[in-house]
Symmetry: C2
Subunit: 334 residues, 2 copies
């Protein structure tokens, strides 16, 4: 199976999950609740969203011999959590633009944005509770959902507070990536496996996959921010503007001379509006000079290689689907 | 049993829940996670907190023939949700002071405050999941927790967006109180009943109690804001400053002459920093002139009377405990 084929599968399964999502949270609802919950939620989720994570969930369920329909309620929960985290992240990061449009807190105000995110978490649990799956399965799904949600919060606590920190190291980066991305990226797959009735051993291996794919995804995300931008009006270097602890920041801190190091921290610590285009260009040049861009790229590639080895050890009907998912995550992270 | 006796019970059972909470989320933890999650959470929850809601949960469990120890994990979840909602509310309302201290977002920043609240929800679910209760019981508890969390979000969407609205009616007020307070106030009791193995019929009656106690609590809260203040440095009239849709606002809008009505909306719509002491005094005088203070007081008393009738229909070992709880909620809402 080539990449284009996985893309078609992701598209078809994503559409299925999207339909389910629209049944579960109506795009239009009456009164102030409709206007201040349903509307901002759908504004944020995008009516034509790709729903890649839900598609991962359904594909995994099938690859392990389960029926994808049974995994739909969890797929919906995954997508709600994903979007809720982005929604609250935008508030926390002060991001005003996402996917070239104003973020929810800019358009609907911080109070509605905080509340809509909270509500999405409740609805995600609700989706699992209403799934009609056996009690044991429901509880397992709620368990991994909760674990993921907690770990993401811990990772976020590090992420927020390592901003522009001169003490930030590669190992701190990897800790954040594990907490914030590893769980969050593979819990969709784990959920699919649980619905399929996979053994604890298989489920363990899928979690292990996250330890490679999570950081790989995060690193690619860091690189994309410096090359093509993250869909915030094509702007390059948002992470530098925000002082975000990227792998490039961690690596450059460990390699740069004292003067460059102190200059880098200064650039990262500037309020976002005071960071100039020249600052960003300077930081990117530094990242190249210190070999940080190459280091990041190679590190991500190694993680993918390791992920493939983990996949080879999973008793799957169709290993290629998993490898395609892994590649997809690593290569096209948005 | 007289009020002082219920106070002792609430104190003892609250202390039990407090101990459990401290075991579940350590007051001190290492590194940036400790500093940016555990620390703000405990700063907010107050190390000497009264834990009244958890006490309600344990008392209900016992009054229905259950063991209070079994209800402890849910009592912890209740307290976490209660505090998380206050924490996010403070961000949403722009409140800078709670219990005479700076609010979490003021002290730790909005990013950490949003994240800490999210994390508390995850930990609340985690507490139920780790309870060791039978699967069926766990799922029932997760179900009512989720229902409550969702309804509170819907109520909050109304609450935020009815601020200073000239169209605000008593029926809108009661809808908010039901969504925001009724579930949230009695789900602690319902959880205790579920752990005790109460029948669906009894559980239904306890929910019904919320429909009286929730609004009664909210109305008392509205009155307290205008008489003794809500513990924000003893300040009177915070709700007027914030334009909050109180029962007094709804009632006065329905009774005042057009000039007073338009003046009241103007006062409520003012940014909080521009609302003067004179504005607040004027609004309180208006609330008295329109009979809104008396209306609110009498309405709350009627709700309590109705609550007592509901309690009489519940097959309890000790009805008085419930009546004392009802009175406690209505009379000492903070």
């Amino acid at each position: 199976m080539e990449i284009p084929e996985i893309e078609k599968l992701l598209h078809d399964y994503g559409s299925l999950a999207d339909l389910e999502l629209k049944k579960f949270i109506p795009q239009e609802a009456e009164g102030l609740i409709g206007k201040n919950l349903n509307e901002p939620i759908w504004y944020h989720m995008g009516t034509g969203g790709k729903r890649i994570r839900p598609a991962f969930c359904l594909l995994t369920c099938e690859a392990l011999g389960g029926k994808k329909e049974g995994a739909l309620p969890f797929a919906v929960a995954v997508e709600l959590l994903h979007n809720m985290l982005l929604l609250h992240d935008d508030i926390e990061d002060g991001d005003r633009i996402r996917r070239d449009s104003p973020t929810v807190w800019v358009k609907y105000g911080v109070p509605n944005a905080v509340n809509a995110g909270d509500y999405m978490v409740g609805k995600a649990y609700d989706s699992i509770l209403r799934s009609g799956l056996p009690d044991k399965t429901k509880l397992k799904l709620i368990d991994i959902f909760t674990l993921t949600y907690i770990r993401t919060g811990e990772g976020q606590a590090l992420d927020i507070n390592y901003r522009a920190s001169p003490d930030f190291r590669i190992e701190d980066y990897l800790q954040i990536a594990e907490l914030k991305t590893a769980y969050y990226l593979v819990f969709a797959l784990v959920g699919g496996a649980i619905v399929a009735g996979a053994s604890d051993k298989v489920i363990e291996k899928i979690w292990a996959l996250g330890k490679n794919l999570g950081p790989a995804f995060q690193i690619r995300d860091d690189i994309i921010d410096l090359t093509v931008g993250k869909g915030r009006g094509g702007e390059i270097g948002c992470d530098i503007r925000e002082g975000k602890p990227s792998i490039l920041f961690a690596h450059a801190l460990s390699k740069a001379n004292p003067a460059d190091k102190s200059m880098l921290v200064k650039v990262m610590a500037k309020p976002r509006d005071e960071t100039t285009k020249e600052d960003i260009e300077w930081a990117i040049r530094l990242y190249k000079r210190t070999g940080s861009m190459d280091f990041a790229q190679e590190y991500a590639e190694k993680l993918i290689k390791d992920a493939f080895e983990v996949i080879d050890a999973i008793p799957l009907r169709n290993k290629q689907v998993f490898k395609d998912i892994a590649l997809y995550i690593a290569e096209r992270s948005k």
